[in-house]
Point group: C3
Chain length 159, copies 3
């Protein structure tokens, strides 16, 4: 699978969908395909650094939004059966029983394996999120750069 290229648009900010995206990305890297993930909207919360949240230079709405939204991968809810966190706890317990890695481990794996991390400029501006609040690997790009990368890829998914 050398010379193959995969582009994922990570729109949703949910634990289970993020797991799916990162498992696809990491498996593809192991097969030597190139992988870009473009994080837009809620997807950005997956690569937020929980220790770097800032409220500086933010409007009141942006501050409220920063505080109400998940801070990093382990805070993401499930896309269904979340039951205020109970369903997610259940999934985490089942993952532990199988000694499956956590979402944060898959994310660290993706960084190590050389997945490319693109962040949607417009989403970040609207939500008032700053580059410094994310993992350092994030490159901030516009929709045009996303599309160029996606159109140069052999496979594109909207997750």
């Amino acid at each position: 699978m050398e010379n193959k290229k995969i582009n994922l648009l990570m729109f949703s900010g949910e634990y289970d969908k993020a797991l799916a995206a990162l498992i696809i990305a990491n498996t593809a890297r192991e097969m030597e395909a190139e992988v870009t993930i473009f994080f837009a909207f809620w997807g950005l919360f997956l690569i937020r650094d929980p220790e770097k949240m800032t409220l500086e230079d933010k409007t009141t709405y942006e501050k409220m939004f920063s505080m109400m939204t998940p801070k990093g991968p382990e805070e993401l809810p499930l896309s269904k059966m979340n039951f205020s966190g109970l369903g997610k706890q259940m999934l985490l317990e089942m993952m532990e029983e199988d000694e499956a890695p956590k979402l944060i481990d898959f994310l660290n794996g993706a960084v190590k394996k050389g997945v490319r991390f693109y962040g949607c400029k417009l989403s970040m501006e609207i939500m008032g999120l700053k580059k410094e609040e994310f993992i350092p690997e994030l490159e901030v790009v516009d929709a045009k750069t996303y599309l160029q990368d996606a159109l140069a890829s052999d496979m594109q998914l909207f997750i």
Copy 2:
């Protein structure tokens, strides 16, 4: 990006996902790629004309459904954190602070830029929605026409 072709299947009827779809579509048109959006199920509510809702020739269920569902782009809810409209209001305020266009502006932009609008015949029949209830650019097509267009495209997303 001339000669490139993009096909989006707009299934979900949510404000944030519709924004994502239309930003991709409009950016692609600016790069001179061809773009088709196929609206199915909930996605159809994005291109409903709020002033053309009719209850004529509809069964009781279809009438109820017509009344309970969003009438046009600005009535769509968020895919998460909607909080009965509060979360959406917050997003709209943040968009205004950045002078970002609204969903309806992106939709009008897409019409002007020549995005092709396909509506799913089967979804419309089941929900009892008539061609006259939509923006005039809508062409009603079946799943086969969607697939032919999608397979002739360089990139396909299910949104």
Copy 3:
């Protein structure tokens, strides 16, 4: 459309999205394209055989999970407006008025038409679901096999 190949990743376990996936798959088969559906996470509940649920060899969490989740296609909820089943009932009534087939009919159609059914090994292990609990056509494969099939396809969707 001979020689064309389509790959769907069925992640969500919702009645309406499953309808969309199966209508695409069946229409593609009628056009003589090859179709693979890879069922992961919640998507697996679509191909669970309601009569083959077992609690044997499952941990407590896996047993709870098996009991709390939908048993087969007709138990799947809607992705929105489910209203504890009321919205789904309304959709089913509207489908019946149009004499549209049910989800289970589309699933049986897909089996007959030769759609390939892949099940995600990792999801099944985590959720404690056994091969015997699914329709017999299911082949259990890993993420690598999914990616090889997807990259060899002309079109890929994440549903």
